[in-house]
C-alpha cells in the first residue's frame, strides 16, 4: 500500500466554482484577484481573491430556506462538498462517514454583520452561536447527514492541511473507513484589517518568490477531499494517494517564520520519511509561497536545506486564489492532485526576478510534465508547519 486513496474532491474559490473551471483557470493563467465587491469593507483598494457570489446567491444555488443560519464558510463548504458528492460513487454519503474540517475564521463574518442587531432583533440572534468555529462544521455535517467522527481543526493557515493529515491517520489507524477532509474560510473585515495591521498585504497582485514581493492578497475558498480505506474502494476511481505527511512547529515567533526555515524543514523531512521517499522523488512542489517577504524567504531557505542545489520545479498558486487561510491546504491539495492527474505544472503568477538571497526561480508558465509525486506545503501562524505528499495511484 502506498498511501491513503483520494476518491473524490470538490472546490470553490475565486478561480472557479468547480474542479473543471478551476483547472481551466490554472491552465490558462487566469487569476481570480479583484477588489472587494461583496465584502463590505472600506479597504476597497486592497486586492482579494473574492468569490463573486453573495450569501443570498449561494443560498439560492443551494436551495436553502430563507431563514437558515449558515455562515459564509458553511455555504462555501456545502457548495464544494456537493460537487464532491456528485462526482463520487454515492448518492448520499454513508452515515458513518467522518468529517474533519479546518477553519481559521469560523463564523466571524456573521458576528460582523449582525452584532449590533442582536440587542433589538431577536431573529438575528441565531447567529450568536455561529461565531463558534465548530458551528460551521456541524452545519455542513448536518446538511449532508454525516454522523461519523466530526471535528474542527484550527491551526491558522495549515488548518485544512492538518485535516487531511488527521483523516489519513484516522484511516491508517483503522478508526475510520471513510472521511471527508478539507476546510473553508471566507473573507472578513476582521482578517483584512488584521493582516493589514501586520503590514503584510500587497496593494498589487501578490508576487510569490519575486525579489520585489511586498505582501499577500487574502482570498476565500472551500475545498474538500474524500479519503477512503482500501476496503471501501471496490473499483472506484482513485484520484491519487496521500502517501506522506508531516507537521512541526517552527518555535520562533507568533506570526513570523524563522530565518533558517526550521519548521518547514522539519515538516518536509517528516513527510518524506513517512512516504519513504528521497528528495529526488519529488517531481513538483506546490509551495506555500504567500508573497510576503518573510514567508517566501524562509520557505526558500528550507527548500535549499532539503533539496540542496537540486530544488525541484516549484510554484505557488496564491497569485491565482489569494491566500485562503484555513482552506489553503485543501485547495492546494486539489491543485496538486490535478497536476498529477493531468500531467501539468501550473505557473507561479506575477514572478519576474529571483530573490537575491537564494536565486530560486519558480515555474512561471504552464508546462506539461509527467508528475508522479507532489509535495504541498502549508505553513500557519503560531509556527504550525505542515507538508503533504501526494502520489499517482498505481
Amino acid at each position: 500500500m502506498k498511501g491513503i486513496a483520494v476518491t473524490g474532491m470538490g472546490i470553490i474559490s475565486a478561480i472557479g466554482r468547480d474542479i473543471e473551471e478551476t483547472h481551466l483557470s490554472l491552465k490558462y493563467g487566469k487569476n481570480g484577484i479583484s477588489f472587494p465587491e461583496i465584502l463590505p469593507t472600506k479597504h476597497k483598494d486592497l486586492p482579494v481573491g473574492e468569490i463573486k457570489l453573495s450569501n443570498s446567491e449561494l443560498s439560492e444555488l443551494l436551495n436553502l430556506p430563507e431563514d437558515h443560519s449558515y455562515t459564509r464558510a458553511a455555504l462555501l463548504g456545502i457548495y464544494a462538498i456537493k460537487e464532491l458528492l456528485e462526482n463520487s460513487a454515492y448518492d448520499q454519503f454513508p452515515e458513518d462517514t467522518g468529517f474533519i474540517s479546518g477553519t481559521s475564521i469560523g463564523g466571524i463574518d456573521m458576528t460582523e454583520k449582525h452584532f449590533y442587531d442582536y440587542k433589538n432583533n431577536p431573529e438575528k440572534r441565531k447567529y450568536i452561536q455561529a461565531q463558534h468555529p465548530g458551528y460551521t462544521t456541524e452545519k455542513i455535517a448536518e446538511y449532508f447527514g454525516l454522523n461519523g467522527m466530526i471535528t474542527t481543526i484550527s491551526t491558522a493557515c495549515s488548518s485544512s492541511a492538518n485535516a487531511i493529515m488527521m483523516g489519513a491517520q484516522m484511516i491508517e489507524s483503522g478508526k475510520l473507513m471513510r472521511v471527508i477532509v478539507g476546510g473553508s474560510d471566507c473573507l472578513t473585515k476582521f482578517t483584512l484589517n488584521g493582516f493589514n495591521s501586520l503590514k503584510i498585504l500587497s496593494t498589487k497582485n501578490s508576487r510569490p518568490f519575486d525579489n520585489a514581493r511586498d505582501g499577500l492578497n487574502l482570498g476565500e475558498a472551500a475545498g474538500y477531499l474524500m479519503l477512503e480505506a482500501e476496503d471501501c474502494i471496490n473499483g472506484k476511481t482513485v484520484l491519487g494517494r496521500v502517501s506522506g505527511y508531516g507537521n512541526a512547529n517552527d518555535a520562533f515567533h507568533q506570526t513570523a517564520s524563522s530565518e533558517n526555515g526550521e519548521g518547514a524543514f522539519q515538516a518536509i523531512s517528516k513527510a518524506l520519511k513517512k512516504a519513504n521517499l528521497s528528495t529526488t522523488d519529488i517531481d513538483f512542489i506546490n509551495a506555500h509561497g504567500t508573497g510576503t517577504k518573510n514567508n517566501d524567504l524562509s520557505e526558500s531557505v528550507a527548500l535549499k536545506r532539503i533539496f540542496g542545489d537540486k530544488v525541484p520545479y516549484f510554484s505557488s498558486t496564491k497569485g491565482f486564489t489569494g491566500h485562503t487561510l484555513g482552506a489553503a491546504g485543501a485547495v492546494e491539495a486539489i491543485f496538486s492532485l490535478l497536476a498529477i492527474q493531468k500531467g501539468e505544472m501550473f505557473p507561479n503568477l506575477n514572478f519576474s526576478t529571483e530573490m537575491l538571497e537564494t536565486g530560486l526561480g519558480p515555474v512561471t508558465g504552464f508546462q506539461k510534465k509527467n508528475i508522479n509525486t507532489m509535495l504541498s506545503n502549508s505553513f500557519g501562524f503560531g509556527g504550525n508547519c505542515t507538508s503533504l505528499i501526494f502520489q499517482r495511484n498505481e
Binding site: 491551526t155 515567533h253 503560531g382
Partner: protein, 201 residues
C-alpha cells in the same frame, strides 16, 4: 499494534485554584481578575520568562499550565502537543475587534488564533514537534484518546502532552496531562473524565 498508554501527570486550573495530580497546590482569592491571578501563579512559581508578559491570557494559561505540569522541563523534544478548547481565541478576538474602530492593533491580532498558544509553548521549550488544535463544544476525551493513540500507533511519538485550555468571559478551564508508554494511570476516556472533573465522582 495497540500498546497500552498511561497518563503521567495532570494539572487543573479552575476557580482560582491549581491542582497537580488531584492535589491542590495553589489557591488565590476568588475575586482576583484573571490577569492578576495568572501573574500571581507566575510569581509564586518564581518563573523567569519575560515573554510571559506579552502573551494574551489564553497563551498565559497554556504556558503556565505546561510549566506547572513539567517543572519547566520537557526532555523529549519530539513530544507532540494535542490541544483543544471551545471558545477558540474569542477573548482576544473581541479585544482586537474593538481596536478596529480606531486603529487595528497588530499586537492583539497576532493572538487571534488559538494555536498561537502552541507556538508560545513550542518557543518556550524549543519543541519542533507535531501540533494540533481542535475546537469542540465541550471537553471531549474521546477525541484526545483517538488522536493521541493514532500518533503512538504510527510510532511517530513516545510522549504526548495534551491540553484543554478554554477561556471565555474571564472564566477559564485548564486541564493538561502527559501521556507516555509506561507509568501512572491508564489513558482512556474514563480516567480522563475522572481527572478532568474529580469533584463529580
Amino acid at each position: 499494534m495497540n500498546r497500552e498508554l498511561f497518563v503521567h501527570n495532570s494539572i487543573v486550573i479552575r476557580n482560582s485554584k491549581v491542582y497537580k495530580n488531584g492535589q491542590l497546590i495553589f489557591e488565590a482569592e476568588t475575586d482576583l481578575s484573571i490577569s492578576k491571578f495568572l501573574k500571581k501563579i507566575y510569581k509564586q512559581q518564581e518563573l523567569k520568562y519575560p515573554k510571559f508578559f506579552k502573551m494574551d491570557n489564553l497563551s498565559k494559561l497554556g504556558y503556565l499550565g505546561v510549566e506547572l505540569l513539567t517543572h519547566g522541563d520537557i526532555q523529549d523534544k519530539e513530544t507532540a502537543l494535542v490541544f483543544a478548547n471551545s471558545s477558540s481565541s474569542l477573548e482576544t478576538d473581541t479585544a482586537y475587534a474593538e481596536t478596529m474602530n480606531e486603529f487595528p492593533s497588530p499586537s492583539l491580532f497576532v493572538y487571534t488564533l488559538p494555536n498561537i498558544m502552541l507556538g508560545e509553548i513550542s518557543i518556550r521549550h524549543q519543541l519542533r514537534s507535531e501540533n494540533v488544535f481542535f475546537i469542540s463544544e465541550d471537553f471531549d476525551p474521546g477525541l484526545f484518546v483517538d488522536y493521541s493513540k493514532a500518533l503512538f500507533q504510527q510510532k511517530k511519538v513516545v510522549n504526548v502532552l495534551c491540553g484543554w485550555v478554554d477561556l471565555h468571559n474571564n472564566e477559564y478551564d485548564v486541564f493538561l496531562w502527559q501521556i507516555a508508554l509506561s507509568g501512572g494511570k491508564k489513558f482512556n476516556e474514563e480516567e480522563l473524565k475522572k481527572l478532568y472533573l474529580p469533584t463529580h465522582e
